[in-house]
Amino acid sequence: MSQADTDTADQAQTPPQAAAIATGDAAPAETPAPLRETPLHSLHVTRGGRMVPFAGYDMPVQYADGIIAEHNHVRADAGLFDVSHMGQAFLVGADHETVARALETLVPGDIVNLAPGRQRYTQLTDAAGGILDDLMVTRSADPDEDGVLLLVVNAATKDADYAHLAEKLPAGVRLLRADHRALIAVQGPAAVRAVGRHCPEAVALTFMSAITTRFDGIDCHISRSGYTGEDGYEISCKATRVRAIVERLLSEPTVRLIGLGARDSLRLEAGLCLYGHDIDTTTSPIEAALTWSIAKRRREEGGFPGAERIQRELREGVTRLRVGIKPDGRAPAREGTEIRSADGAPIGKVTSGGFGPSVNGPISMGYVAKDFAAPGTAVQLIVREKPLPAQTVALPFVPHRYAR
């Protein structure tokens, strides 16, 4: 047996399950760059992580329990994810207004009105209205840090993002890479209790809020956010201190390490986009159904790259839209699968697809022509040349359980 070519995903961007069932005759890679390691690499290896290349890093796709058990553990208790491969950087300027105005020239999100200690999801757009990356922006809660924004960007795009930011930012606003920092996520209904025991201040945070605080005396930055659809936290700290925090968390009976495989199935069930798959430079935020992330003021004022297209799409509508797709049967429809209308006309493509453990069945998302985007529309998925019946559905597949 061998991995079928249904998974067309770029290895640099997707956690390749160990599926290239070591056939022994795999083509030698073209002198790949050595994989980078996060500060938790040896911990992953010691604790049974199955390491795979992901976005240039050697990362755990799963541990001994396997993806389904890890996924279910996050939904039932709490999971700990190493996301230190992601890019963390600070934007620093004279005051919030200065930094926020500068960033707003590059993203369609409302940054100026971001309150201290609040976090927002937005995108770096290009002049054509495509998406260069999606990112989290947090305004420091600390009054002494007025004029500081923390950015968290994708691992595979971070170097390009930083170059883009450095080139476009005005002289008074500096980009400071925080490569010396680690980032972990603790996700699931038991996260609040597990984290709260070591950082009582974290309990009172609401979704998309952040504080600078201490975790058992270790300086860190904690936000109530994540990418699984569950309640939980992301904790940023110095790389040298992250192991101590992780070991404290893993001593909590409810917390287990979770690999990238379950991270992917969790975010897919939560209907969240994976950059390079569900969104890229060919998709606009409106087509990607991310309109909610663009505040009214920005929609009206524009002033970000690609505003012309994005404002036109807001006015006149789009020709295609990102939707959820639920196959009627059991066969997963993976990235690249062609979507056809019930009468066989090509209407789009799957951009992420697989098995949803909480749904207990196959789930996909992708783009379909606007007329087929309404939930409940019957479509066909062309899997191994056979049309399989499916329906468009509203996202998410599994309701979010954020602490609002």
Binding site: M1, Q17, A18, A19, G66, I68, A69, R330
Partner: protein, 124 residues
């Protein structure tokens, strides 16, 4: 007759003139949680080394090749509802299909359990 193995990590076990086919313990371990299988239709003729089934884990789909030529005479329907059986018992209850072999001598070209074990050692 003992079980024979392919370099693509399928096993085949002959009983009379019908052989049972599945994927190996090593294969299921590498794949991780299996969530779907597509089995051949009964009556289909398959060639040695030809695509005969598909197995999908949470993350990826893989082709399963027939270790020998013949006609499919039975399939493991139970896998439709419980594909995880392959993870639990890849070389037993997790079998995929049964073949009436067209040339049983083909099995001599495959590896014995001992040879397969040595082969796996070369992959590490």
């Amino acid at each position: 007759m003992s079980t024979r193995y392919t370099k693509d990590h399928e096993w085949i076990r002959l009983d009379g003139d019908v052989a049972t086919v599945g994927i190996t313990e090593h294969a299921q371990e590498q794949l991780g949680d299996i969530v779907y299988v597509e089995l051949p239709e009964i009556g289909r003729k398959v060639d040695k080394g030809g695509e005969a089934a598909v197995v999908e884990s949470v993350k990826a789909a893989s082709d399963v090749y027939s270790p020998a030529s013949g006609e499919v005479v039975a399939i493991n329907d139970a896998l439709g509802a419980t594909p995880g059986t392959i993870n639990e018992e890849a070389e037993g209850k997790g079998w995929f299909f049964r073949l009436k072999l067209s040339s049983p001598a083909e099995l001599n070209e495959l590896m014995s359990a001992e040879q397969y074990k040595e082969f796996l050692a070369t992959l590490e």
